[in-house]
């Protein structure tokens, strides 16, 4: 165990102050959660602990990080590894070998471990960290995100680091992968490894963490202490600033307003369950918190998209979709959900004529897809890609939107007006002359949606619209979508986040292994527990809390709703 002391740490990158006067002291067996607004320097703090920020030329660093009284700048990287190991957010871009075992060995090689001992160490950590044995010889590239993150954890453990730093380790994973990583991280924590976690998926992490450090938007420490106390004292400020707070805590606040007194502030579902709250109050509080006015299904709507026995894929031996039947009605906010590799992206591409159709049919607005001319389909259906950068073709935000316009439809003034209106709508009017690549993550996402709204498209497909976005941006984007939907646009959202589905979609289809396993209205899905489980998804929080805390409350809600 080592004593870490961060004193007056100050980091400036290209003239922008990222961290300011950071003072923290902790021991390497502590389990710490770091929160903060997006872009407030949490990742920079982790890199500063590793002594990496200090080495870069474009960064101005002052202050010090001391390990047992020795400055990390004076330490050999190889000794530092014994104290800190890190797991990054993006599973793919933290490996440098082609195969899992070589990757674990990489750290050991750096430590000059005798090659004869390596085999034993590797076997041991891979088993300890639940890396599937049958995949030991697979190339790293084809492993799932959850497997890659567990491999990264195993790599850190192999080197014998006392504390594991984690930079949003589950942000890029589907619910199944997330579950796997959390279980493994928890195990490491219980075995005595220290944890230093940046994460916003709080409910599952909090039960095995102790301390909370919040970094403010100005780069200073906003608060530091026991997480229960911190959430109790500051939760209002957190919500204002768009820092993630556990839903349980926020619901307990609503309950308090209704006159319920808590002796212990609940931070996860189990703790709320222990309170024995009466169902009717809980029911009220939950529907108040989630603002759950579900959209009603209107009968006899027109089908805008109809797939019949659709089989498609990349060649006879690589069929991804198997006999898909699916109908999307006009004005739907439709969610297409499934775990990674379930075929949901392929399905959306088949609708856009980007994947060869082997059998079955797709009809769009009542007309078969084969009867459309090459590009006409794209004029009816817009598609917002997961990575906004893939869609950008021009050098400024303005010309990016003008590009979508083409040159022949309207006179110049009305084009200008339309573009201005969109820019204003999407909070981009200040960035007209900026290169799309220089925008922030949220702005990029908004621009990519805006480019698809020019013209009169009837259907908009969004691939993981909230991927990599913080609370504020998530809400912003989803509000826009709801408004568009209310104006008559049919929205199809591809996601694995059932909380989003619960909050916004009126109809949903679940995909698993290239087949549709559920299609119907959103509320009906919450009764199909085994479908959700089999597809590697996770019940939305609202339903979970109602079910687990008061099973009666859930039934009441249903009969009311």
């Amino acid at each position: 165990m080592s004593m870490i002391e961060v004193s007056h740490l100050y980091v400036e990158i290209n003239g922008r102050i990222i961290l300011k006067d950071i003072n923290i002291t902790f021991e390497t067996n502590e389990r710490i959660l770091i929160l903060g607004e997006s872009g407030c320097g949490k990742s920079t703090l982790l890199l500063a602990l590793l002594g990496i920020v200090q080495k870069y030329d474009n960064m101005n660093v002052s202050g010090d990080v001391l390990i047992n009284g020795i400055s990390i700048v004076d330490m050999e990287p190889i000794d530092l590894v014994k104290v800190f190991g890190i797991v990054f957010q993006n599973p793919e871009s933290q490996f440098c070998s082609l195969y899992p075992k070589d990757e674990v060995a990489f750290g050991l090689e750096n430590q000059c471990v005798d090659p004869n001992d390596m085999e034993n160490i590797i076997e041991l950590v891979m088993k300890d960290f639940d890396f599937p044995e049958e995949k030991e010889n697979y190339p790293i590239n084809i492993l799932s995100g959850g497997e890659q993150q567990r491999l990264a954890l195993a790599c850190v453990a192999a080197m014998g680091s006392e504390m594991i730093l984690m930079d949003e380790p589950t942000a890029n994973l589907d619910p199944e992968g997330r579950r796997q990583v959390i279980v493994t991280a928890k195990k490491a924590g219980l075995e005595g490894k220290g944890l230093f976690v940046v994460e916003h998926n709080l409910e599952s992490w909090l039960p095995f963490l102790d301390r909370l450090i919040v970094v403010g938007s100005d780069g200073t420490i906003f608060c530091d202490g026991n997480y229960r106390e911190m959430f109790h004292l500051h939760w209002k400020r957190f919500v204002e600033k768009g820092i993630w707070c556990p839903h349980t805590l926020q619901i307990s606040r609503v309950l308090e307003k209704k006159g319920y007194t808590f002796y212990k502030i609940p931070c996860c579902i189990q703790e709320l369950k222990d309170e024995n709250i009466s169902c009717s109050i809980l029911n009220q509080a939950v529907s108040e918190y989630f603002d759950a006015d579900q959209k009603e299904d209107e009968q006899f709507k027109k089908a805008v998209l109809k797939l019949e026995r659709l089989t498609a894929g990349y060649g006879r031996n690589h069929m991804v979709l198997n006999s898909i039947n699916l109908t999307v009605y006009e004005g739907d906010f439709f969610a297409l959900v499934g775990g990674n590799g379930s075929g949901k992206s392929t399905l959306s591409k088949a609708i856009l004529n980007l994947v060869p159709i082997i059998d079955g049919s797709i009809s769009i607005l009542g007309k078969d897809i084969s009867k459309y001319k090459a590009n006409d389909v794209h004029e009816i259906i817009g598609y917002v890609f997961q990575n906004p950068e893939h869609q950008f073709v021009e050098d400024t935000v303005w010309s990016e939107l003008a590009y979508s316009h083409g040159k022949h439809t309207m006179d110049k003034d009305s084009i200008k007006n339309e573009i201005f209106k969109l820019l204003k709508d999407f909070d981009l009017e200040k960035h007209i002359e900026v290169n799309p690549f220089n925008l922030s993550g949220g702005q990029k996402r908004r621009l990519s949606v805006a480019t698809m709204l020019i013209g009169d498209r009837k259907i908009l497909i969004l691939d993981e619209p909230t991927f990599g976005q913080d609370v504020k941006n998530t809400n912003k984007i989803m509000k826009k979508m709801t408004r568009l939907n209310n104006l008559g646009m049919t929205v199809i959202m591809i996601t694995h986040d059932l909380d989003l589905v619960d909050a916004y979609a009126n109809r949903v289809a679940v995909m698993n292994g290239g087949e549709i396993v559920y299609e119907g209205n959103t509320r009906g899905l919450w009764n199909e527990k085994n479908v959700i489980e089999k597809s590697g998804l996770e019940l939305p929080f609202r339903i979970k809390i109602l079910e687990e805390v008061g099973s009666n409350a859930y039934e009441q809600l249903q009969s009311n709703g």
Binding site: V81, E92, Q94, F95, N110, F385, H408
Partner: protein, 258 residues
Amino acid sequence: MLMNNFNPTAKLIANLIIVITSLIVFDPHTMGMLFVISSIFVLVTKSVNRKNLKAIVPLVCFAVGMLWMNASLARVENPQIIATLGPLRFTDQGLIIGLVLFFRIMTIGITSILFTFNTEPDVLILSLIKQCRLNPGIAYGMMTALRFLPSMESDLELMNAAHRIRNVRNKKWNLKKNSWYKNAIPLLAANIRKAERVAIAMEARGFQSDMKRTYYRTVNWGRRDTIFVALTVLIVCAIVLFSNSMGWLICFKGWRGF
């Protein structure tokens, strides 16, 4: 005897010997013998399969193209016309030059394809670190680049699809493919960021490019690798000496093709 079992560095040396020799030699007899020996080697090691045959096809087309073009178009002194086809006149001297080039392309082609198809990239890199004292910083850089290739390919595919959807309203007169730099910028941006992240991850695990480190998997240089390289040298020397004694040998003096 499988090519896979040899040390990659040995294969690389053998390959280089043949390539350099074929570049120096410029007479059909020696070149032909080099080609025949290489082909025999390919057959003996059973290294041909459908996959690398496919890679050889375009090479054969190129080589045959060189053959007839030189035979008909090479600028040579005192040509003897041996055949005509329409306006084309095939000359004996030209045919000889064409044959040399044909054999040269085929020899270099098949030995190189043989090498690349029978060598695991990670084993090659490990072997280069050990046998050629390659800096591990460069070696791991190459390895990571290899890992990036498949994702670059799928990114490019996605980008083309995305641009096609964007392109809708610019009707036909503007439906040209995106210029290469329009594709290159996002790819470059994504990959530079990725490379930086990998570099940080490696550093976080105690890696320095000029460090002392051990290796989990090692690729050894066995006796048969020495024999393999020695035999290659012997055979090539024997061919060159034999054709020299027969008076066939001509070394490359300058471009004499068309």
